[in-house]
Amino acid sequence: MVTKVLKRTYILFLYVFLYAPIIMLALYSFNNSRTRGAWTGFTFKWYLAMFQDRQIMTSLYYSLIIGLVGAFIATFIGTLAAFGINSMKPLPRIATMNLTYLPVLNPDIVTGISFMLLFIFIKLRLGFLTLLLSHITFNIPYVILSVLPRVKQLDKNMYEAALDLGATPAFAFRKVILPEIMPGVIIGWLLAFTLSLDDFVISFFNTGSGVSTLSITIYSMARRGINPKINALSTLMFVCVLSLLVIVNIMMSRQKKGVKIKEETR
Amino acid sequence: MSEYLISLQNISKDYNGTEAIRNVNLNIKKNEFLTMLGPSGCGKTTTLRIIGGFEYPSSGKILFEGTDIISLPPYKRRVNTVFQKYALFPHMNVFENIAFGLKIKKVEPAIIKQKIDRILDLVRLTGYEKRSVNSLSGGQQQRVAIARALVNEPEVLLLDEPLGALDLKLRKGMQLELKAMQQQLGITFIYVTHDQEEALTMSDTIVVMNNGLIQQAGAPESIYNEPVNAFVADFIGESNIIDGIMLEDYQVKISGKNIRCSDLGFGKNEPVDVVIRPEDLKIVDETDGVFLGTIKSVTFKGVHYEMMVQAHDMEWMIHSTRMRPTGMKVGLKVDPYDIHIMKKAAEE
């Protein structure tokens, strides 16, 4: 009994530790006072100020564009690659998978700097394009890692059965293969999009010409100290990430259920 | 001093409202080989786990040599368990696995060595001390698990379907080995299985369970020959189970025929279950048979043929060493003492 109470207290303490800062941040985004200590009344003015801040709004725009476009391209290349990797012989497959793990394992700062060296070396001006290219690059491995298990699970006979029943390869791919791997593809895309929004270190080294993402803007504002507009922005971002996560989780649990049912009927 | 080693008294266990076992009463004698037999979900494993101390019963008592051990944790009970999937410690070798219990009791290393040598000899794994348990075959892992339990010289060894993962041939061999070990060591074995043949081969006593209730307990012969209800009859060996009506003592009506039997004491015109073993039905000439029918199918089963005979509104299963061709008209006969009459199971 005593140990049970002790355990509960401990875990409660831990969750408070994890969530208190986030919750305080959200609360203060509604605080009228600029200094954090005192609560002087409820207000939406920081949200208003945030939406009127040109710098925040342009970086939001860039974050979203790079996130969306980057995730799409990464998903496209990554999904194709997953099929190719799946049909490789063991040796090239291991080599390709190691290549895939390299950017995942390498420290972000090293990855970021090496991209920067490349872009400067090929005389590409740091800015929107370099940002996009680097985001695509660090996202593809995550897409592959989420699509590959699905491709491995594919029943080869199903595709052949479709052809046998008179489907053209393109039709069979669209109607038979694609629905099977779709959950993995969508999760891969969401993962890529989230990681792209979340990234700071790699973006930090590969941006220029006045192009800035939200993370970079937050960093440069936070370095100068507290800014209530960041509180408002953070709160909004928490809510977005949270809803994205809930969606991903629901999809994943559905996907797991689907796999389970498949196994049971075997 | 109680005459029984272990006594389960009115043990019940429910998981969130669903009852796994109900009012189990069971007495186990010293040096007995007792088998709990039943389909999966019948409560046999739950009963075993309660004896081992891994489950806490909702109500009832467990007496061990007369004292209640219900509140003792597993590590204080003088029983050891052989788990279904062996549960060998993957980070230890064969020697360390078997020595685990002895080391905890702080037995001297020299004596541990001695005991392990002896037990490895018993399970025929001498020379395997340093092997990793993952490198062993299923049968060898099984024997390590048994050695690990036996080396502690428990009063009672609990075995939870220990042979379930082995192939048929290995299983047959291990059954005989286990029985031999039990007789040699003089330890009480409580064995759980869903395999009736295994139960019949090894046990001194069989306890048949279903739906959390003990159906019948007794020697293998009496369970096979005198099943108390249709469930036991069906579960132990194969059976023809037919609806019948008890007309009066020694007279039962099956499939429209009045037949002599050896049972009495039922109500007049009471509906009953009638059990006839397939090997007790004899195929005779059409003129001599009680039932007349046609052979529908013949399957060769190795030692005997299994034939399905359609007679009137009934299909009978018959085991015989002599084959009759499909389509042949035959008569069926059964001796009165081979007809087992059972009360209908009460509707739940």
Binding site: K7, Y10, I11, L14, Y15, L18, Y19, P21, I22, M24, L25, R36, G37, I77, L80, A81, F83, G84, I85, T96, L99, L105, N106, P107, I109, V110, I113, M116, L117, L133, T137, I140, L145, K156, D198, V201, I218, Y219, A222, G225, I226, S234, M237, V241, L245 | G53, F54, P73, P74, Y75, V79, T81, K85, A87, F89, P90, H91, F100, G101, I104
Partner: protein, 274 residues
């Protein structure tokens, strides 16, 4: 269905954007440029071998090491609790542990600023009960706090995932053979959870060594870790050769560490992030 070719664009992409850049990094770290041209040289590494830079390296390693130990000390009991048998809302509890990992780590770090600063919540409370205000920000304490806060879930998760996979029968078998709960932990649970501990340590230590954001925001502008050193070389000083050399050293430390750790985690493939 042989269509290996669909992986070719990807492989080409990765060669251009991963292999070539890393090659450039190595090239810069092993060369020096002067007015006479670019020559092969180990000068950059020799320069790094000076006390001022080694001090930064050791400081980073020490800080990351202590943070890892703190995360382990706090995280192992938490993982055990989450893997416990009698837990009712396990999935929710685990999700709650994972959630902060998905919040932008800049924001997570920034959140502490608002609590720790001179006029922040903690000092306001201290003032309200009549205690003198503390200087909580821009010191080792703040950096440790930021590290533990950011990386704790990365320690809890792999340990939890290993602990929850331990076959319940093994625990029961140990109890059956006479081990009390303490001995069960010492002889069974803990040894079996070592792969999880290793991957937890990897996932905390590696990013902790290379961070430059936590140290900049919570440690202040003067607080230099190896990550900050690299950033300075590239963005302020402009000495790419030296910056590349430091990056190479760091990459070597990390990849060797990873290789070492991966020998222990043969079973759990990529369970880390989830």
């Amino acid at each position: 269905m042989k269509k290996t070719w669909t992986a070719y664009p990807y492989i080409l992409w990765m060669i251009i954007f991963t292999i070539v850049p890393l090659g450039l990094l190595l090239y810069f770290s092993f060369t020096v440029t002067s007015s006479t041209g670019t020559i092969f040289s180990l000068d950059n590494f020799r320069r790094f071998n000076q006390p001022i830079y080694l001090k930064v390296l050791f400081r980073s390693l020490k800080l990351a090491g202590v943070s890892t130990i703190l995360c382990f000390a706090l995280g192992y009991p938490a993982a055990m609790f989450l893997a416990g048998r009698d837990l009712k809302h396990r999935n929710t509890m685990v999700l709650l542990m994972v959630l902060p990992m998905w919040v932008n780590f800049l924001l997570r770090t920034y959140a502490w600023l608002t609590l720790l600063e001179r006029k922040g919540l903690i000092n306001t409370i201290l003032g309200a009960i009549g205690l003198p205000s503390l200087s909580l920000l821009y010191n080792d304490f703040a950096v440790f706090l930021g590290m533990v806060y950011n990386f704790l879930p990365f320690m809890v998760l792999p340990i939890y995932s290993i602990l929850s996979k331990i076959d319940r029968n093994l625990i029961e078998a140990a109890e059956d053979l006479g081990a009390n709960p303490f001995l069960v932990f010492l002889k069974i649970t803990f040894p079996l959870s070592i792969p999880g501990i290793i991957s937890g340590i990897t996932m905390v230590f590696m990013p902790a060594v290379t961070t430059f954001v936590i140290s900049r925001l919570l440690g202040g502008g003067q607080y230099t870790l190896i990550g900050n050193l690299i950033e300075q070389q590239f963005l302020t000083v402009g000495d790419w050769n030296f910056g590349s050399a430091i990056s190479t050293v760091m990459m070597a430390i990390i990849l060797i560490g990873m290789g070492f750790a991966s020998r222990y985690e043969t079973e759990q493939e990529g369970s880390g992030l989830w």
